[in-house]
Symmetry: C2
Subunit: 387 residues, 2 copies
């Protein structure tokens, strides 16, 4: 059976070149990068190179603005808690959105219990925040605005430059969870003017268990993981040398290939056209244009997304209802709910997230496989019956 | 030139079997373990297997007591901060020792700034705590005793069972940083009666960037990394599947081979005998018997450890002055200082930490190479001159 992986927003297949780059550090170059002897020095050198490559991908002013973490979630936690700790004397108010990833939302919820005030901005029907609402939300106690670059479920791209402009005018730090944007969109941190930015390795064909946080020089942030003098005293723990090297390689490749990667959009639009030509009562979730090139979130009205993905799985097609990080819960997507999507559509959403290994043949297979599944499920759906 | 790696307490060479076990998860089995489709399920299954293997190595009652982290430092941070948060209403007093690893010490120092009281127990000349001092330190505000199983610099093994007995009698949680003990000493968490225990992958011939925390069922602990529902809602972040699989494999191998691994002691004692037969004014740091089988910490009186390791490095021998995590600082070892080692000896300490790949020939090479280096350095030493 054909296998079609369309869950690249959950994780990507690591590139062969990335694994090749990592292997020497899994074998002969095994030293601790903090050791000063000949087993440690090449590991240190490799980390320095990877840091420069990540800085280059993000357009950072210097490599020292990049701190490696164990992944995107740790980067988000570090950014938000680190600023809250560092600016405690200034205020305790955070502004975020209702559609953030759980790594941001649950960090904010935790901080609310610790005495922080959090404003969750609403979004419009396409998932875009309202800049006037943002402006009105800022008080003299606001210490951080944390808004994702692009949404993981629907792909909608937020107006990051306008947000950071407002943040700068008000003297408030701006953090963006760019985990889904990095490697898919061409940008430079100096242009978007973020103070802090989170990214992850395994979303850009790199390794799992590694990520990075960009911290603009001079940004006040309190260390969250305490121990040795690693990562310029900002994040303790023996450096994950192979992971860091892999992230560096993935970043280097991404930098070069973003324009090519963007062409996934044509394949995605071909898939969308194929689906809508053959299936009725379909709703596109997310902004029609301001959207990640690889992401297609569709509600099949009156159906349960879970049933659709299980049926597609049996045909070798891997998709998801939304975030992998919230799978196992039966609650409707907080993103679709925040966008005001009605009940008959929130349950039936399916996210197709494409990647560099997908082909037109993959899309044809989905376009061919999906209609009979939807038809069969709707035959059994009491909701569709009542339509 | 012969290369002799004697810095296994800093990090170990990953075993070939571990890399072999990881590779499929770096290639074809790349799914997100939280995805419910066919790309996610084998990743989930692999994690379950690794969790069982780590639980087996530690002698945990169930696999659910094992939570994967990004390493030993995160495990130490999680254990200490997690208990402090969870038991805030009960008290704010922590008891630890003066000779802990930085991951514990600096976490405690951070918590002191946040309002915690911390008692740093003293140690005797061999680096062992005083149980009466421990008993006296416990108050009704004490919520955690965190004492390392075995010291990373000198190898001294603390009286863990007696410590946990005292903790249990007083109803105080006991955490042990067992990062250097796991894989070297045979023990079961149910026997040592720890509530929390930290371990690391790369110290047991496993991967860097992965570790685990044992949390006894029922132990109150607050999550420290917020986000998705990973690791039974105790630690958020996409699972590092290859790292977890590698840790599982390393744990499985360690379990089987601890008795064999313990034979390193003979090689270490052979090295010690060879050194002391040929060099005078040498001091053994750490307990003569209650010590990790692989660790030999020696002070070459009147010398600087840094000079010795640089000279040995030029001969292909990798050793360290102490913890890799504190390298780069010129301060004398906090461990030796706490043991009351005098100034002419604290500066000249060198840690030889052996591993499974070392041979008798390696030891002979060190025994042959070291004396002329020490002799030359002492000729140049103004301190030795005044002796």
């Amino acid at each position: 059976m054909r296998k079609v992986y369309l869950d690249n927003n959950a994780t990507t297949r690591m590139r062969g070149e990335v694994l090749e780059a990592m292997l020497p550090y899994c074998k002969d170059i095994y030293g601790n990068a903090s050791s000063i002897h000949q087993f440690g020095r090449p590991a240190r050198k490799a980390i320095d190179g990877a840091r420069a490559d990540v800085a280059d991908l993000l357009g950072a002013a210097s490599a020292e603005e990049i701190i490696f973490t164990s992944g995107g979630t740790e980067a988000d936690n570090f950014a938000i808690k680190g600023v809250v700790h560092a600016l405690r004397s200034k205020g305790n108010h955070i502004i975020t959105t209702a559609i953030e990833h759980q790594a941001v939302l649950n960090t904010c919820k935790f901080l609310e219990k610790e005495g922080c005030k959090v404003t969750y901005l609403s979004v419009d029907k396409h998932g875009i925040i309202n800049l006037d609402e943002l402006k009105r939300a800022i008080t003299d106690k606001t210490i951080l605005i944390t808004i994702m670059y692009a949404n993981n479920e629907i792909g909608t791209i937020e107006p990051i430059e306008e947000i950071s402009k407002i943040a700068k005018e008000k003297g408030v730090y701006f953090h963006t969870d760019a985990i889904q944007a990095v490697g898919k969109l061409a940008f430079k941190v100096k242009d978007i003017n973020a103070d802090l930015l989170s990214m992850s390795g395994h979303k850009i064909y790199g390794p799992k268990g590694i990520g990075a946080i960009y911290i603009k020089k001079g940004t006040k942030i309190t260390q969250q993981t305490h121990g040795g003098h690693h990562e310029m005293n900002k994040r303790a723990g023996t450096e994950n040398v192979p992971g860091i090297v892999g992230l560096g390689k993935a970043a280097k490749l991404a930098k070069k290939e973003i324009p090519e990667e963007y062409k996934i959009k044509d394949l995605r639009d071909y898939l969308y056209k194929g689906i809508t030509s053959n299936i009725e009562d379909v709703r596109l979730n997310g902004h029609p244009e301001k959207r990640l090139p690889n992401t297609l979130n569709i509600s099949f009205t009156y159906l349960e997304g879970e049933s659709i993905i299980l049926n597609l799985d049996m045909e070798g097609i891997a998709v998801s209802t939304g975030s992998a990080c919230t799978s196992g819960t039966l609650e409707p997507s907080h993103v679709l709910t925040a966008m005001g999507v009605d009940a008959v559509n929130t349950q039936g959403s399916v996210r197709f997230s494409l990647g560099r290994y997908n082909t037109k043949e993959d899309m044809d297979y989905v376009i061919e496989t999906l209609p009979p599944i939807i038809k069969r499920l709707r035959t059994m759906s009491p909701l569709y019956d009542k339509k």
